[in-house]
Each structure stands twice: as structure tokens, then as C-alpha cells.
Symmetry: C2
């Protein structure tokens, strides 16, 4: 038997993975980035095959990983995590530099970044594991702590985007039975769902300046889930 | 240029990975375990090829991952992380059960565990990435938080064992120049090095009941590094 809540005890960080070159590129939010060897320094990332950035990684043979700080803004997470680069140019209005390899690197809310050359590609079903050799690594802020995925989920009530390897269909989690007069409201911008039964606070009772904890959208951007 | 200190901003947990069956098996401490797909639920681990457990994973085609709690003891970390199963039976004196697949599962200081069937093996140089399909997942303690690798490093001054993918040769880290009258003392049990220049406290000035933060050995177990 699989208790999906056990999965939430696994620890992750939160990163912006970017790929492409000066002419075109994209970036997404990942929670899976992990060093796989020390000699040479290599890192692995796990990316949904439908992810728009995935194509740029395979084409440009390089990618960058920006490590988000503890207090990373909802703007940054919402922009890179909950919107698709197919519909919007995510680099517009962002602090993006191009590294030694020519790869785009997102500096918004980042405390360090790694620039990698694609070494190998491993098919694991819905996702691909990309192994990159680290060509360049910069520490931007030694004093700030990285945001952890647990922190992001707990404090910001963040949800995993549907493409994330850690996405869990909420219907699969064993929940104590809840009163049926609680409703759910969905953010039209990023898809975040405010569930009254989780907080015990009716959506209508939230302050007028309350905003989406994921993408920062106003309360007016929410619709009742039927 | 690679600043190795940037690597320390990556986030990980701390796990005991076990493999084998009732007749023989072994376990080691890993900081790399991460879900790679949701449908089906699959998890990846990264294991040094020299690691004694690696052979058991390949032979038994299964492995388990126990998620260590925030206050995991130095005993558990020292036993599974800094000793080789070639020299000692790590399961002796430990709370080990055998799961649905017959795979050993270490329960010492664990808050959840996952039992996996080996699906594929990916060579990444000194290490192997094993992909496992999750067959069984149990939450043992919902209220306790998992230990993070950052916490382990910071609070316990833990070092990565030499076989870990995140091992960093300390000589590669840019350090401010330190006074040369500081010395280093090495734990004869687990290899942990107490560096006076890091704490600013002479080894001789540490209290008599001070013990190795990694494996719990007494002060007498330390030798001056020449």
C-alpha cells in the first residue's frame, strides 16, 4: 500500500532551471536538482517531457540552475513555476544574464547558480533526467539560506505544478472526512486552489488585500470550483 | 570558474537506503533520494559504485529508503554513514524489518519509508542512479520533521562521507587564511575531522564529555592530524 503522505517527508530545494541561448530560451521551477558525482562535479535535474524548457535543454545542450532564496517572492515562483513559456516570454522583466556557455541564468531571488553542459539524458517515463557537468558555479549571497520545498509548501501553501515529478493528485491522499459546506476557490492565473476545509476560513472571510500565495494574484482572480 | 560553496546551497534530506534480503543485506546513508515521476510513483537514488549496498541493489532488484527524523542520533548516522558493511553487520542491533518485497527496511530514527522495485540503472561515472518504482510507502510519524542535509551539516558539523556524491575536497573551498597554530583532530572511528580553525576552540579546551558529532565516539578516540 502506498501512503502518499510519506512522500512529503522527502526533502528538496526550489530552483529556476533555464536553457536556450540569447535568441530564445525558457525557464521553469524545479524541486529536483541534486549533485550526482563529485569527480567531475555533475548534477542531475528531472524535467517533464511536456515542459517547454525540456526542448531548449536538448537543443542547446546546456542548462543553468538558480538556487532560490528562503524568501523568494510569489512573483518569481508564480512566473517561472505556474505559467508556460509557450504562452509568455518569462525572461521579460526578469534579471537574466548569459553565462560562460551562453546559457541564460535567472538571477531573480537567487543566492547561487550553476551552469551546466548536458552530458547525458535518461528516460524515466513521463520525465527525463538530464545529467549536466558543472562548468561554472557562482555564490551570489553566502548569508542567505535557500528555500526548501517543505518550507514552500508549508509556509506558502504552495502546490506542485501538474508537471512536477512530485505532483500528487489530492484525491489520493487519505484525508479525514471534512464538512461538506466548505468550498474551494481556484486562482485563474496560476491554478492554485484555496481549500476552505484546510484552513477552516471561508474564502469570503479572507481580507480584501489577501492574494494568491503562489502567484500573487488578487482575490478577484479566484473562481469558485464547482 | 567553479565556486564549490555554491553547491552547499542545494537542498537535500538524509536517508538510510537498504537492500538485500533476509539472508544478507546492507544499508548506507544517502542525501540523494528524489521522486522522478508521479505516474507511476518512481524515485531515484544515487549510489557510489564502490558502495557495498550497490551490489545488493543490483542483485536483489529492490531497495528501501528510510527518511531520517530531524533529531536522528549520531549513532544511526555514524553506523550507516561512516562504516562499511564489508567490515561490520550494520543490521546487528538495529531495528530492521522486511517489507512486502522482502527488502530490509531500517526503522531507527525513521519517520517514513518507501519500498521500491528496481526499474532501471543509469551510469553517471563514479556513481549509479537507480530508479525504483514505489511498491509500498508508510508514514511512521506524521508529526516529526525530516532532517535536512543543511541542518545535518550546520548543527552537527557533519561531513559528507568520501563516497557521497556531494563530497567536497576541503582543499577546493576558498577559505580565508587561518592562523597556522590551529590544529586538526581526526576521529579514529568515523573519520570526522575536528578543525580548530573552524570553531576557534582548541581541541584540548573541549569538555571531557565532548564526543564526535558524527559517530558519538569519545574524545579519546581522536588523533592529531600531522
Amino acid at each position: 500500500m502506498i501512503n502518499f503522505e510519506a512522500f512529503f517527508k522527502l526533502s528538496y530545494g526550489l530552483y529556476v532551471v533555464a536553457a536556450g541561448d540569447k535568441s530564445s530560451g525558457n525557464a521553469y521551477i524545479a524541486n529536483t536538482a541534486f549533485q550526482v558525482t563529485a569527480e567531475p562535479p555533475q548534477i542531475a535535474i528531472c524535467c517533464n517531457k511536456d515542459n517547454y524548457t525540456s526542448g531548449f535543454i536538448q537543443k542547446s545542450k546546456q542548462f543553468s540552475i538558480s538556487i532560490l532564496e528562503e524568501n523568494a517572492s510569489s512573483d518569481t515562483i508564480g512566473k517561472f513555476g505556474f505559467k508556460s513559456g509557450k504562452d509568455t516570454n518569462k525572461f521579460e522583466g526578469s534579471n537574466v544574464i548569459y553565462g560562460e556557455t551562453g546559457c541564460p541564468i535567472v538571477l531573480d531571488d537567487s543566492i547561487a547558480y550553476l551552469e551546466c553542459e548536458l552530458v547525458s539524458t535518461h528516460d524515466v517515463g513521463t520525465h527525463t533526467i538530464f545529467i549536466g557537468k558543472i562548468k561554472n558555479a557562482e555564490l551570489l549571497n553566502a548569508d542567505k539560506e535557500p528555500i526548501t520545498y517543505a518550507n514552500y509548501r508549508r509556509i506558502r501553501k504552495g502546490l506542485a505544478p501538474k508537471n512536477a515529478p512530485t505532483y500528487v493528485d489530492k484525491s489520493k491522499i487519505t484525508q479525514p472526512s471534512t464538512k461538506t459546506d466548505f468550498a474551494k476557490y481556484k486562482c485563474n492565473v496560476c491554478g492554485y486552489v484555496y481549500d476552505e476545509s484546510e484552513s477552516g476560513v471561508k474564502f469570503g472571510d479572507l481580507p480584501a488585500d489577501w492574494h494568491c500565495p503562489v502567484c500573487g494574484a488578487d482575490k478577484e482572480e479566484f473562481s469558485l470550483v464547482q
